[in-house]
Symmetry: C3
Subunit: 447 residues, 3 copies
């Protein structure tokens, strides 16, 4: 009996390990940059990613532009910020950590008493060693963030606060990359670039998205067209949708929001609003076979760009595959969400899960058996010729495929029924196709 | 950020407590009257209710009238009844309790030996202190009910039995009340008046129905038209259906049978035959948020007028919200089901649950978000402007409404999804409507 | 109140016990015959069955005939086979057990060393006292099966192996029997005849099928037409389908594969591929009321002719009701699966379950209540006339039938809802029909 090469799906172990290291290196390069909704930090970040993905297109949308219900805010840039204590010592310094300044802080440069200063300070009493991450995009404010430990040592007196920022007409920056496939139907992959020095809830997303794009770009063949989107969260996806909604609604058959995908603690899944799209089915299938203990959230737990992609009237089939979800781990939105939390291994596992997801979408075709009754597998060398007790796994997979390929169930549904990962079914599908025992059924594909 | 007045649904505590007392007083007034399928007891009961609800219409249907498969029986009236023991002492007296006489007993006035008398007596060996409730509507009989304790003391000898009743052509009496709303679609509320001195399984129903009608009549505005029906059980609802079936089938969008709604032991729910009507969804939603331990029965446990309202070919969306269901509590259909079992607090809780049910039906509209993507809540003062960890409940409710108001899910479905009672959502819906962020979707309403 | 004769479904106890003995006797008569895919053993078996079922039609299909993807193989017959040890003693003898020869063994007659002989021997190290059952239908081989205990005693030396078999053009033999009913819609009952001396996984099937056919043939009235099929497994059902597919697809409304139905250990069920056909609903309903601990398998556990009957494009509604399923009991496919494992009691229980299944299909009509609201049962003598606590089972069944006979739910669905076996409902249905309270709804029957 012929044998079929076993497929593990995704990348092989050593290749994956190497890419984990490269992704972590990219994170380290991007870490110090002060990103926000707009500004040079985003531009610098996208330029660095463009080195990995030369076809990446970078776009600018001027401040004041209307996008659906929103208006692009002024562009924010910051060069320096600090607090001098009454003795003139620099006690809080933007150069140490860009988390020290409230995002979108207006400029300030003056003396100030401790009591008034306190109203501009943010710290976390329950995490006294962490600097919190705070922003005020749509209301003009200024402020500093610091550890609670440091804040408690502040003594009465006159402090000097200085934020050398500008909040002025400019533009919002985002990027995209389209990798054409045989079909014009698209798989959408979206991530965000808008947080300063944060690890899991920022850099893991663009790092994994970049290496997923490199992987897809390197494939000999793609059934579907792939669209990668790098945007500031919320307003960026709204901008993107406002420019491409009709196209996306008619083209996207599956999509994944890429965020919080770099630590090692768990895998998790957040459904689309609909909950039953191909993306949802694929995400759950992949995670079940990647980590049976993965955490399944509901759409009530949403918090990233699926809020826009799945909004009523937008309704794109976008699910989210994560490691530790935003808002659920203690370091979230603090200086402790750094590149020790995000690891090469964590990033590699996230990349592997997403590669398996897009492979599963590629595999998820519908086939129909071409004979009535079971085919005679023996004369094709596809069956054990000696009828004894015990039937081998390979024979069982072939016969199960032949039993369920009825022109209605797609391959992910069959994989779920059989309890075998779709990537392990793929070589058997190829074999049965080559024997003419099954044929693909066109399901109204857009070609 | 603006705040929204929190709604508890239904009536406020002190108002409710007062109405509980008034309902109990009404029960006490109605308790001594000897009601049956027909007769002056029903008329007197409806006249007393009419004092509370002046618009109540009282109708008479002559004996012999055909209604679907049934014929209106002769009218039964009773003035007096007793048993004299061999010594001439009145040992069983209708004047003490109208339960002492089998309902619809034919007249009798003669001497009788103990042995023969026993064949006309009903008692409960397992509840020796209770008088059972027995009727014989459709077969001519006479009989007395008494406690088993008393029965056991009867000695051989000649007894005198006297029942001064009449069973003669007359009519069946019922009443209804229609309170028009903006729409001609109706909410049906039905209760029964046909048991003599019984509490939970009789008077709690008309008492709560009366005060629910008073509440609805007092509303400044009603979306739907309300129809209250007071009928003798079974034949009364059959009479009502036979006169109004076409109208009811084309108008009723939800309905509730009001019975066994006055004790304090539990809340319970009995579904419509279909089990998935708006009434069912609303009843379960209200009870889940009123008493998470409410008892859910199936349609197999039916026993009241839902048998007619949900019969094949009738198929009205009628569910039942109760306190302790008929047939499930030990006092049921005995003299122990009295006004100590039914309490002001029990009646008030039942009224509150039903008010919440009709409010939920009123709230259960379908809305659609009017912007693509999430709206910018900040510039409308509907969002916290400082992005910190933790999002307030109010913001969460607003954002969830905006996520699920997609023109397909109605508000009860959204309330179930979000896990918030629909009455708490209502003020947020009003707020979002006033901002033009959502709009009602007409779902083929009958106007 | 009139009473209704209680129905237990199926046959009564003493009749059933007698038939169990007759079925076991038939098994004993068929046991020694060496059946295979083709050959005289099958013919002799079908001739014996024909004595019980004179209308049985026996058919021959020539070797080389194409049937769907398959070709009828040469016919195999065997007269004798043995191994002589170096001392000339007959140590393995076909005359002792036909399991000693690998099915479809090519002829052989020569001396052979032990080492080479070993390559033609089959035994079970983990069941040292059992002779395994081995076949090689589609690859030419020869071989012997023996107990592992015997095999371990073989000493080096020259053995004589002799198999007096022929593998030559001939035909495949199968049989069928059609018992016409009032409707041309059919119930299909299929079993297989192709294993040599095996009990539960061979003879229980044709024995029970034969007696089921005798039972059906003896009925005064049949709503449906019954088709019994006796075929060699796999290729036989493929042959049958290739000849009758269009007819079967347009006629068969329910079907059962009859196999492994003679031991006493358990009842079990294997669904059709669809899983929701009438056969599946009926099988589960019958088993739930026959043995609440019955084992429910999935279609992934399939292994008999349901593989062909339920193949994509064939899609007949065929489910399987068994005692201990093939492949799940230790004696399966060994000499221990004999007529001590299969018992009269086991066969009788299997027959009873299948009779109940076909009765349930016959009962599974759809009715509609003919009055609006509940009918007045009292004046028809169908209701207790004295309203007391406690309602009798009979009244409850009548009222439940009247509540659920809505022209949409069929009787098996109603039986499941009410929790009463459909055979207990049948007399009440007859009673309600006779009163004109319900009427059958035609569901597009083929007449």
């Amino acid at each position: 009996m012929k044998t079929v090469a076993k497929s593990e799906g995704g990348k092989d172990e050593s290749d994956l390990r190497a890419q984990g290291e490269e992704m972590h290196a990219l994170c380290r390069e991007l870490f110090p940059i002060c990103r926000s909704l707009t500004g040079d930090g985003v531009r610098r970040t996208l330029n660095i990613i463009q080195r990995q993905l030369p076809q990446l297109q970078i776009h600018e949308v001027p401040s004041g532009t209307k996008c659906f219900d929103w208006t692009i805010p002024p562009e924010w840039n910051i060069r320096d910020a600090y607090i001098l204590d009454p003795a003139g010592r620099k006690i809080v310094d933007f150069a140490d950590s860009n988390l020290h300044v409230v995002g979108y802080s207006t400029p300030v440069d003056r003396d100030i008493g401790l009591e008034e200063l306190q109203q501009h300070l943010h710290s976390l009493p329950d995490m006294p060693g962490a600097i919190p991450y705070v922003t005020s995009y749509y209301k003009e404010r200024w402020g500093f963030c610091l550890t609670h430990r440091q804040r408690e040592q502040l003594k009465p007196g006159t402090y000097r606060v200085k934020i050398d920022s500008t909040l002025a007409p400019g533009s919002l920056t985002y990027a995209d990359l389209v990798l054409p496939g045989k079909l014009r139907q698209e798989i959408l992959l979206s991530t965000y670039v808008c947080h300063p020095s944060l690890g899991n809830n920022e850099l893991s997303g663009p790092a994994v998205a970049t290496f997923l794009a490199k992987h897809i770009a390197g494939l000999a063949e793609r059934t579907y067209t792939y669209r990668f989107v790098f945007v500031p969260e919320t307003i960026g996806s709204i901008v993107y949708l406002s420019k491409h909604l009709d196209h996306l609604k008619s083209s996207v058959i599956a999509g994944f929001n890429i965020t919080c995908i770099g630590d090692e603690r768990c895998y998790s899944y957040l459904p689309s609003r609909d909950g039953k799209t191909l993306s949802d089915r694929v995400a759950k299938h992949v995670l079940r076979h990647t980590d049976p203990d993965y955490v399944a959230y509901t759409f009530l737990d949403r918090g990233s760009d699926e809020r826009q992609y799945c909004a009523p009237g937008v309704d794109l089939p976008v699910a989210t595959v994560m490691r530790s979800k935003y808002g659920t781990y203690p370091e979230y939105h603090t200086s402790l969400d750094d590149l020790s939390l995000v690891t090469a291994t964590g990033l590699a596992g996230g990349l592997q899960a997403l590669i398996r997801c897009v492979e599963a979408v590629e595999h998820c075709r519908t086939y129909k058996v071409q004979v009535l009754g079971e085919p005679q597998m023996g004369r094709r060398g596809l069956y054990s010729t000696l009828g004894t007790r015990g039937v081998e796994d390979a024979v069982r997979i072939r016969m199960d495929l032949l039993a369920y390929c009825d022109g209605r169930r797609d391959l992910v549904e069959i994989a779920e029924t059989i309890g075998v990962p779709v990537w392990e079914l793929a070589p058997y599908v190829a074999e049965l196709l080559s024997h003419g025992l099954i044929a693909e059924v066109e399901s109204g594909s857009v070609t």
